[in-house]
Subunit: 746 residues, 2 copies
């Protein structure tokens, strides 16, 4: 790896002080003169026909400035009641999940808005509903979208009933592979609907200028995506919407879509005044887009010496009322990533996306991968046990290396799976499993394909040679700090010489959403190229000033110097501006933009977790975790480690606590009291092992790092519980009740 | 001239609606949480030594959060009491003009701040002062800056006493020229101190972030200049200051310097809270930087047939307490521009900058030119009368053409002086002078060198092909609209497809101050180049998409097309982003930057004014005005005409009303009631004649247009009064009293 001076170091996050002191501005902090407060009326039913909707009493309430229903939505509304992708759908004739918006109001106070919501009269004809994904697949199940039967819906390959997407992917001869096997295991694994659990509830503020331009502040994963979605919802050109940058308090895929900002903008347009909307936690849980529940059946054959010969997988994912891209994309990547870690010569993989009367599902950190990996890595543990092999050795034996194919048509480039397994193995050699009753250790691995799409950056040079980077990408994990490091690296400046300015959708050039673990790479490429552009301009100007050819000079630490006589140089400030009264060459400003890479960059994570299970209560205590990750070159190791630690914590939530519970089709645990997420008391010390295998990618050989470490977590936990107790839980979450039941059955 | 589709048209200003409805944000509109209010304690004396300065009682007043004196200014303070250039100087030992800041406070309310100012105890030893510029030149005059005697001050060429700058410029043999002349006239002309009279009082808001970064909103002519000045004042790196864009309510050179923002930032730093400061009109008039008073003596020789043979000029300008660049620059350009309109083979020009105990002088629209032009163009009128020549014909006979030298070492390029004179002549042929008693017509010409310095622009392409231009330059005369027209012209889009975003000092690339009539050209060049950059990228990408070479395609109206088969094309949105799941080439973003041109671009204005003088009261009524201007290619003729009309109105103020009146060294008419500016009732219908002689300059052959039309105004008025009454006023303003006195003396 190349030698770096700032890349790879651990400066504190440049937003740390503002975040820690409360000075950072989140969208709910925005206060505008004459601002109204908006509120949404939501469906109380999982499925129903609207027979009457009367807003007249709400309209008449003093202080109410606007009421909107589906009749006010200018575009994008469809009559077949299929929810719009990535934006809210105000119900027209039918509600399809409990929590779906039906109407919204803007009023002079939160209290009046709440009162107005109560005055909107809606009558429903109750319709039969389905919540369980396997129930939904039965022939007599209530249909979530009857019109999809006619083949009019999207993603209709092999679909019928509530099965709206069905695909199969095969290689070799699975039957022959199973015949070749010495051991064949078949198991079914289930996970429940879980939420991204971001701390900041969804919020939006919208203002309308005299020229009709709408300015929006909202929690987001990309201001340009917000612009696109609000423009589509309102059927307006892109340049009629301006989205301001704000800090975002957690997202994990849950803020790619917009639930409030389109409604907020529509209310502001109708009221002619700014409007703020903030979701309650109940609304966040009931009406935003959680990760799909899943049922995955795996049949796997291995030879006695530990070689996988065949696999048959059926993945059934519960997409609630979502038929948009996120579902297709997620299960697609879920299947690729859960099953591509090992050489499997023969396989059949069946993907099934199913509709239920639940909130539309959406992406959650490595979408769909953790569900499938829970199945695959539990199965791997069962296979290793059946063969009496060490689980790490079993994975080392079958693990992919450069050149191996994935389960789709792609193959692996430079990867560090075996290196990561070896690194974890080395660590474990010095850290023995926990001793004592009901204690055990679980191992699991995970793969995610991290993305790289097109973003752009501007760089300007201040008169004193300090540098300003202008970007429009949302910082969710310290990416601004990583970019500041890149600029400091390129210009050989201290970090104090670099300003990272986050612009709005007008002052910043386009950037793709902060998602897919790609921001440091997607925008990093643009930043790197912009640095090169600016340095080239500096060198050309410096060469002219020194009276030599361009090739004779180079940039070095705030100067352009002769390559052969480094002492002869010109400082950058002399190139940017000269004496006031004499001609000067003008400011230096540059740009960089990156293109999309179709194939994701593979990143592997290996997690080992030690647990203790209370035999009396069924409570699982996580004693410690170690997670190794094939992280590429780490721009800021502290930030990468933070991603890994956070992912382990979320994996504990999936494994032990989190699930949507329904009563009569309505989520019944929609509070943080009842929807249990891990707290500091549940999270053990987490050791992080960075395995820096250069990805070969521009810039610096970095890889995406945010999503991969969540993938192995739930399986590692289940494998540890097995190790501690001898019971195999094939269903998440492993609540105390579930564990006690399993212990009893043993 | 090239054919344009948007350049040269008259779309309304893109900021018109916001300005007209009050939605536009000016700096005094900014309100921040916990904001304090600042106020300045100012010297009541024109000259005094501070013997005691005690702020303890003010400090102790409840609600006072910060008090600053010169002891708090971290840098830039000097012991010799010479005012700092372009920033305020908190007096240390000595005050040198009435209105000079001595201390400032920030308090929880305006009322407490005012009370605290009253509690600051200052004792002065009264020192002798001098206000009149000729008195100041006498050997026994009180010295404004005694230390300049020692040669330590700036601009010390030939200086002595209060004469701090002295320069001479000669060509040919003036004595011989006078001997050759048939008529030699010598006259002395005087003008008084006048103010730019911007409507928006100076204001500033400063906020300090947790990281110590200071954010400033203030009325300005350039946010990057504000950043530079505040940083210098506080001795901080540039990137510790961020200046936000705000609308500016008039400036005319009067807001290049910063009087409040440095103090406001210092108060905010000391108080740890945001601070707002707004000047009263009295403070604006007493303590900002008005245009210098002048005494110009001209001796001019002409032959009987109207050929100028020689000139001797002595220009004495009253720079108050200013010794900074603006003074030197202004009188320098004043002499070049006032005397370069005509071929003068032999001349001596003496420039004298003199100090008095008045507020420091500063630039005002074509700085120093109107004063000298008042002298020169009055003299031209007297010479024409002496020769019984038509004043336009006299100017046509002597007027410069391309290739003629200026009075310095430069010579004229492509100019339109004679074309403008001819155009006005043609207009007058159809508009006879006013008939009747005490009515008359005056003619005068003016020249100004309009600038072009380095600015930069960013352009991004939205996914729908609409364009965003990001600039940081302050819009004082509709420049944003001009830039929008340029972008629309280049991309062949309607104006609705163009967004002009004004960034702050971080999100926008550098731009030079909006001054010197140069913004449309300086930034226009950057905008034009950024458009070309982006179009080139579009063409490269389009060529690749169409599978041809770059040279085979061209941009046309939102598409890249084959030059030879224009029907084969690809729309821009297809080049900016393609399908979500397939590779796309990434966003398109580009930059442009311009370099400084050392030589100004000459622009000529010719004004003809008809007046009626009331013989009983001395009141002058302006009946009509026509102003012709060599305007280059007018990007938006309506905006150019607006500049010309505004300049004529200001010229009426100079000519008839405006002057600083002093009592005991203190300005005694520091209100808009007593400092009389022209109102709508004083301004006649103004005919504007645009003479579009292509400047040959990039882009589009435009010229600067803002300053030139004020130059001939005062002289045209004096010449009209002469025409109406037969009396020659050689001193401005021509108040009723002055005219009555002159009529009496006749």
């Amino acid at each position: 790896m190349a030698e770096h001076t700032v890349i790879g170091k651990r400066p504190p996050r440049i937003d740390a002080l503002d975040k820690a002191t409360g000075a950072a501005l989140f969208s709910a902090d925005i206060v505008l003169p004459n601002m109204l407060h908006g509120k949404v009326l939501r469906s109380p039913l999982p499925h129903g026909r609207i027979t009457r909707l009367d807003t007249s009493k709400a309209q008449a309430l003093p202080g109410v400035m606007a009421v909107i229903t589906s009749a006010d939505v200018p575009a994008f509304q469809n009559d077949d009641e299929i929810l719009m992708p990535m934006v809210p759908t105000l119900a027209k004739k039918r509600v399809v999940f409990a929590g779906q918006p039906v109407a919204a109001v803007a009023a002079k106070s939160r209290e009046v808005a709440a009162e107005a919501i109560g005055l909107i009269e809606v009558e429903y004809e109750v319709l039969p509903f389905v919540i369980d994904v396997l129930e939904a697949m039965k022939p007599d199940a209530p249909l979530v979208y009857p019109s999809l039967q006619s083949g009019s819906g999207p993603g209709k390959k092999g679909a019928s009933g509530n099965l709206f997407f069905s695909a199969e992917n095969a290689r070799g001869d699975a039957e022959a592979g199973f015949r070749e096997a010495d051991v064949v295991l078949e198991n079914t694994f289930r996970t429940q609907t879980v939420h991204q659990g971001f701390m900041e509830p969804r919020a939006a503020v919208a203002d309308v200028g005299r020229d009709g331009k709408i300015t929006v502040w909202t929690d987001n994963q990309g201001i340009f995506k917000v612009r696109e979605l609000v423009a589509k919802f309102l059927n307006l050109p892109l340049n009629r919407i301006k989205v301001m940058p704000v800090e975002v308090g957690g997202s994990f895929g849950g803020k790619e879509h917009q639930q409030l900002s389109p409604l907020c903008a529509l209310l502001a347009l109708k009221a002619g005044r700014p409007v703020k909307m903030v979701m309650t936690r109940e609304e966040v849980l009931k009406a935003t887009r959680p990760a799909p529940a899943s049922v995955v059946t795996l049949k796997t054959g291995v030879t006695r010496d530990g070689r996988i010969t065949a696999m048959e997988a059926t993945m059934i994912y519960d997409y609630g009322t979502s038929v948009g891209m996120p579902g297709l994309e997620a299960i697609f990547f879920g299947s690729i990533t859960a099953f591509s870690l090992y050489r499997i010569p023969n396989f059949v993989i069946r993907c099934r996306d199913v509709l239920t009367n639940k909130a539309p599902s959406g992406p959650y950190r490595a979408p769909s991968a953790a569900q499938a990996a829970f199945a695959m890595e539990s199965q791997m543990d069962l296979l290793a046990r059946a063969l009496a092999m060490d689980p790490l050795e079993f994975r080392l034996k079958n693990g992919v290396v450069e050149g191996d194919p994935m389960v789709n048509e792609w193959s692996f480039g430079k990867i560090g799976f075996k290196e990561t397994l070896e690194r974890v193995k080395g660590y474990l050699a010095e850290h023995a499993p926990p001793e004592g009753k009901n204690r055990g250790r679980g191992v699991a691995a995970g793969l995610w394909l991290t993305g790289c799409m097109g973003s752009a950056a501007h760089i300007s040079v201040n008169a004193d040679g300090s540098i300003v980077l202008v970007i429009g990408s949302t910082d969710m994990s310290g990416t601004r700090t990583a970019f500041a490091q890149m600029v400091a690296e390129e210009f050989e400046l201290p970090l104090s010489g670099v300003t990272v300015a986050t612009g709005d959708t007008e002052t910043a050039p386009f950037s793709i959403i902060t998602a897919g673990s790609m921001t440091t790479r997607s925008m990093g490429k643009a930043v790197y190229r912009a640095c090169r552009d600016v340095k080239e301009q500096m060198c050309r100007r410096g060469a002219a000033k020194l009276g030599v050819e361009r090739d004779e000079v180079e940039y070095a630490a705030g100067r352009v110097r002769l390559k052969k006589k480094p002492n002869e140089s010109v400082p950058i400030p002399d190139l940017v501006k000269e004496d006031y009264m004499s001609p000067f060459a003008g400011p230096i400003t540059g740009t960089g933009a990156g293109e999309m890479m179709a194939e994701g960059t593979p990143v592997f994570a290996v997690q080992v977790t030690d647990v203790e299970v209370d035999g009396e209560t069924g409570k699982v205590t996580v004693l410690s975790s170690v997670v190794g990750q094939d992280a590429g070159v780490a721009v800021n190791p502290t930030l990468v480690e933070g991603q890994m630690q956070g992912a382990v914590a979320q994996g504990i939530g999936w494994a032990l606590f989190e699930e949507y519970l329904f009563h009569d089709g309505v989520m019944e645990n929609a509070t943080f009291h009842d929807y249990r997420m891990p707290t500091a008391a549940d999270v053990p010390p987490i050791e992080t092992l960075l395995v820096e295998v250069d990805s070969g990618a521009e810039p610096y050989g970095i890889r995406g790092v945010g999503e991969p470490p969540i993938v192995p977590g739930p399986a590692a936990m289940a494998n540890a519980v097995m190790s501690a107790t001898g019971v195999r839980l094939k269903e998440l979450p492993m609540t105390p009740e579930a564990i006690l039941n399993a212990l009893k059955s043993k």
